[in-house]
């Protein structure tokens, strides 16, 4: 029995959001992941983000590929349609779905095996195509369901549970996303909800492909000494270069920063993202500088986190396809069929 319905528990005093919903209303089924799995913390952060943004549950489309990470869409928003597709191919499903219905809020959950090995091509092309979605990569450096093989994000020198040392260089999804022109690139840690929630919120509001790499340790196969994706290692080596605050429309700014350290970026819906540089010489709006800086942080063995790069989304799939504003699925057949008269005319060209 792999399917466990989660009872909806309501408590007096649960806070409600603008739609009158509590965080419970954004939950899904009971998780079947290992106790302590980083992915469950990401799920919790997502639930928090959706709730805070007053998202209508049934207007969300949640998609995934295959793997532990890809199970997680089951664990949030049960009133949203979900699609657990095939290994590494979620981006194409999301692109087609988005092409057909641009009005939904798309969230794709993937893993390092799913996005960086079998699905690296689709991941790259979703960035290039700028599919309007939040893309979360739950990154643990290991294949969990097949019991502990290294993934393509495993660092050189990282040790497997059986003691094997990885010698192949990692594919860093943040560098890939930056290089390919993604306009929203972040990295966070499943163990840092404070940091993760505002990043997810900003990503959901971003009008284009928003990429969030979340270091999300695997407690069963990759949380030991010698692993560079363990809780302990990530905590010690995490280096927050930008602090992010997401300010919904008409909300008050919650944190005060010293003048000159904060850059405010307006989102398309009127909300804003406030980025506070922790590192003085870091500019989260300069792509080339960001690539260089992140490389130097990595060389020092540290994991740069925060909303690392943010720009105007530019042309997305719909803008460069010049599609109509309303979702294609909402067009009536009468608007789509040219009719018998046109067929007669067209055939005059057929000699």
């Amino acid at each position: 029995m792999s399917y466990i319905t989660k009872p909806v528990a309501r408590h007096k005093g649960d806070r409600t959001n603008g739609l009158g919903l509590t965080t419970r209303d954004y939950e899904g089924s009971m998780s079947t992941l290992c106790a302590g799995c980083g992915h469950d913390s990401v799920t919790a952060a997502l639930i928090q983000a959706f709730w805070e943004l007053d998202v209508e549950p049934h207007r969300v489309a949640k998609l995934s590929g295959i793997g532990c990470s890809s199970k997680t869409p089951t664990y949030f928003i049960k009133e949203a349609h979900g699609f657990n597709s095939v290994h590494g191919r979620m981006p194409s499903i999301a692109a087609g779905a988005n092409a057909a219905n641009r009005d939904l809020l798309y969230v794709g959950i993937s893993g390092d095996g799913d996005s960086l090995s079998i699905g690296l091509g689709q991941f790259c092309h979703a960035i290039r195509r700028n599919v309007n979605m939040l893309y979360v990569l739950e990154n643990n450096g290991v294949y969990g369901l097949t019991k502990g093989q290294f993934s393509a994000s495993a660092d050189i020198g990282s040790k497997s549970k059986k003691g094997e040392v990885n010698r192949q260089g990692p594919i860093d999804p943040v560098s890939v996303a930056l290089t390919l022109g993604a306009t929203f690139v972040a990295r966070s840690f499943s163990g840092d909800k404070q940091q993760l929630v505002p990043i997810l919120e900003a990503g959901l509001e971003h009008d284009g492909f928003a990429f969030v790499d979340v270091i999300s340790p695997c407690v069963t196969f990759n949380d030991h000494v010698g692993s560079t994706k363990s809780y302990a290692y990530t905590r010690t080596h995490m280096h927050e270069v930008v602090q992010t605050d997401f300010v919904p429309i008409r909300s008050e700014i919650r944190t005060e920063y010293a003048e000159g350290t904060v850059r405010e970026v307006k989102m398309h819906d009127g909300s804003s993202v406030r980025l506070r540089k922790v590192d003085d010489d870091y500019d989260p709006t300069d792509r080339h500088a960001a690539i260089e800086y992140l490389g130097s942080v990595a060389d020092q063995g540290e994991i740069a986190t925060g909303l690392l790069y943010l720009a105007e989304a530019g042309e997305d799939l719909h803008r460069f396809s010049a599609t109509v504003d309303q979702p294609l699925v909402s067009l009536g057949y009468e608007e789509l069929c040219p009719g018998s008269e046109v067929l007669r005319e067209v055939q005059k060209e057929w000699w």
């Binding site: 792999s2 049934h58 207007r59 349609h81 979900g82 597709s85 087609g96 057909a100 219905n101 294609l328």
Partner: protein, 635 residues
């Protein structure tokens, strides 16, 4: 007496041999179009290389007053413009035929045949004299051979000029150059040869209800008329022109005149895997979505096809077959994907497949495919081939019923979901094996998890045997029940339709039951583009008193008419274009007919089937009148 078939007025075949990339395609199109406009039934086969420039290429034209349009390999005239392929081209002319060639350079002696007439014209020299610039001279050489054919075959020069006027109405200098080339070729031919040749043309009125179009263009238009809004693809010969056509028609008929915005979205994917994923994503959202591809693409899409099958997502796949396996011969035709499409993907799968025989059916079956995909919530294939897809075919004018509305199948609206007590995606509520479907974003009650992993009838993940079996068994019954909804096979029994000249029938989409008893001993079964050669062969047999019944499969799963036909004959000959007898195998697997009863006649060399293949194949097994067989082909 020529060795194979009579020829003469409005009944012959000829072939133009040129170099790829020299502009001969438009000259050959001009020829085909001119004959069609003279009211003469005609068919053209472009035999081209996988190459941009430099390799030999051929264009074959068959003229037939009785409207037989299958390929004829008996060329009465070869226009040999490519010294690279002289040897083969000269060899292919029937005894008593003609060879028009460029005698600017003399022909090597060993190429000369004494049973054919060589017609030499110094085309290159004439063009050097008449035109400036090497590119113009090369292009005009093509138009000059068209001019020579105007005289040799008695093509109506006014028709040719009319077409050039339409084509170059805004380019006066090009029109004049083309006119000059036509005149130059025609007068040179008249000066030197006795024009016209015995093979020649006479105006007819046999094409006024017809159009000339490729299967890919017709299928593309079918997608527009079906209301498809999302097309995803990866370029691959010979399917590329299908998406080119869809793009062109959408740009014309689907752009909002006020905003300039498009009521369609076409995505050129990174590969065929992604193209299939996009179609499935869009189908999940409720859009009519499709992808055109060829066999190699279907191989790559197979994983996703299984997902769409198991998760029950409407999706339409066009497979314009080419010669396999692997890369095979990308510019040659075959029917090698019958088994592949019928059962694409791992695990137990079975799909709805439609087999058009010409561009008319490409149009109609495209529309039918979207209806079937949505009614049965499953991947649906339209399987044509390079010959149907890329060559120009003469077909009856297409018609459209403005009353048509898409069959969206069982899709629940927001109001229906609101009313419903409960909704479970994979529950067989009506007992017809087709569950109700909800679309994302419509209503919270409609939410469910679409997955390719094991699920029970409520849509929940399962690894339980009984729950799993219940769902996959229902899906099998669902797909099998589509047998009565796919296009009915075309059945020609007795001497029906073959009393007069010309192909006896053209199948209509109908769902009536076929005959259940037959008088003839033998039955022919065929599929797709084989139809026209089979029809021609059968008509010849019937005219000589040998009655053979004929059934053309148009859809899979097979319905009762197919089974009755197999049962109703002593012996069945299955005619198809692949090595492995794929149709015969499918018939054996899917019907109760013992396999010994089915004999295969296959041709799989990459050219379209011709009646000779059929008659020679039959002659291996039954007594075929020897006059129908090429010399030396009798058993």
């Amino acid at each position: 007496m020529v060795t194979s078939g009579d020829f003469g007025v409005n009944d012959f075949a000829f072939k133009v041999a040129t170099v790829n990339g020299t502009g001969s395609a438009s000259a050959n199109g001009l020829l085909l179009q001119a004959l069609f406009r003279m009211g003469i039934p005609v068919s053209g086969k472009n035999v081209f290389p996988s190459n941009i420039q430099g390799l030999p290429t051929w264009y074959e034209i068959r003229v037939n007053k009785d409207s037989y349009t299958a390929r004829s390999p008996d060329f009465h005239l070869v226009v040999a413009m490519n010294p690279q392929s002289y040897g083969r081209d000269i060899e292919e002319v029937v005894s008593g035929g003609w060879i028009l060639y460029d005698d600017t350079k003399p022909l090597e002696e060993e190429l000369v045949r004494d049973d054919v007439t060589f017609l030499g014209l110094p085309l290159a020299e004439m063009c050097v004299r008449e035109f400036e610039g090497s590119r113009t001279r090369i292009l005009m050489k093509n138009i000059t051979y068209v001019g020579a054919l105007v005289a040799l075959l008695d093509i109506d020069v006014e028709v040719v000029k009319g077409m050039l006027q339409e084509k170059f109405s805004h380019k006066q200098h090009l029109m004049e150059a083309n006119f000059r080339a036509i005149e130059m070729g025609a007068s040179a031919a008249r000066e030197r040869f006795d024009c016209p040749l015995p093979i020649r043309l006479e105006r007819m009125d046999a094409t006024s209800d017809c159009v000339m179009v490729t299967g890919n263009a017709a299928a593309a238009l079918g997608c527009v008329y079906a209301g498809a809004t999302v097309g995803a693809w990866y370029p691959i010969t010979p399917s590329t022109s299908l998406m080119d056509g869809f793009t062109e028609y959408c740009e014309r008929f689907r752009v909002d005149p006020e905003t300039g915005k498009k009521k369609f979205c076409i995505i050129q994917a990174e590969d065929e895997l992604a193209a299939a994923g996009m179609v499935i994503g869009a189908g999940w959202m409720g859009a009519r979505a499709f992808t055109p591809t060829s066999g190699p693409g279907i191989s790559l899409m197979s994983e996703f096809i299984g997902l769409a099958y198991y998760a029950e997502i409407p999706s339409v796949f066009f497979d314009v077959q080419r010669t396999g396996p692997s890369t095979g011969m990308p510019t040659r035709t075959q029917q090698g994907d019958l088994m592949l499409t019928a059962y694409a993907s791992h695990g137990d799968t079975k799909h709805i497949v439609l087999f058009p025989a010409d561009p008319k059916e490409c149009f109609e079956f495209a529309v039918a495919a979207f209806d079937l995909a949505e009614r049965f919530q499953t991947p649906t294939f339209v399987v044509s081939d390079l010959d149907i897809g890329m060559n120009d075919w003469m077909i009856p004018r297409l018609e459209w019923d403005d009353e048509y509305r898409p069959d969206r199948g069982k899709v629940l609206s927001a109001a229906e979901l609101e009313e419903a007590e409960s909704f479970y995606r994979y529950l067989d509520v009506d007992g017809d094996h087709v569950p109700y479907r909800s679309l994302p974003g419509v209503h919270p009650k409609g939410a469910y998890f679409t997955r390719g992993s094991g699920h029970d009838k409520y849509g929940r993940y399962t690894e339980g045997s009984d729950e799993y079996i219940e769902v996959v068994d229902r899906i099998l019954k669902k797909v099998e029940s589509a047998a009565d909804s796919v296009p009915e096979p075309e059945v020609l029994a007795g001497s029906h339709g073959s009393n007069g000249a010309g192909p006896s029938s053209r199948g209509e989409l109908s769902n009536g039951a076929g005959p259940t008893s037959y008088d003839a001993r033998y039955g022919l079964v065929s599929i797709g583009g084989c139809h026209w050669a089979v029809l021609e062969a059968r008509d010849e047999l019937t005219r000589r008193g040998l009655d053979v019944d004929y059934l053309r499969v148009r859809g899979f799963p097979f319905n009762q008419t197919v089974e009755d036909f197999l049962v109703g004959h002593e012996r069945i000959f299955v005619i198809e274009q692949n090595r492995d007898e794929q149709l015969r195998k499918l018939l054996t697997i899917e019907t109760g007919c013992p396999k010994e009863k089915l004999t295969s006649i296959t041709y799989y060399g990459g050219q379209p089937l011709s009646k000779g293949h059929v008659l020679e194949g039959l002659a291996q097994h039954i007594d075929v009148p020897p006059e129908l067989l090429p010399a030396g082909a009798a058993p």
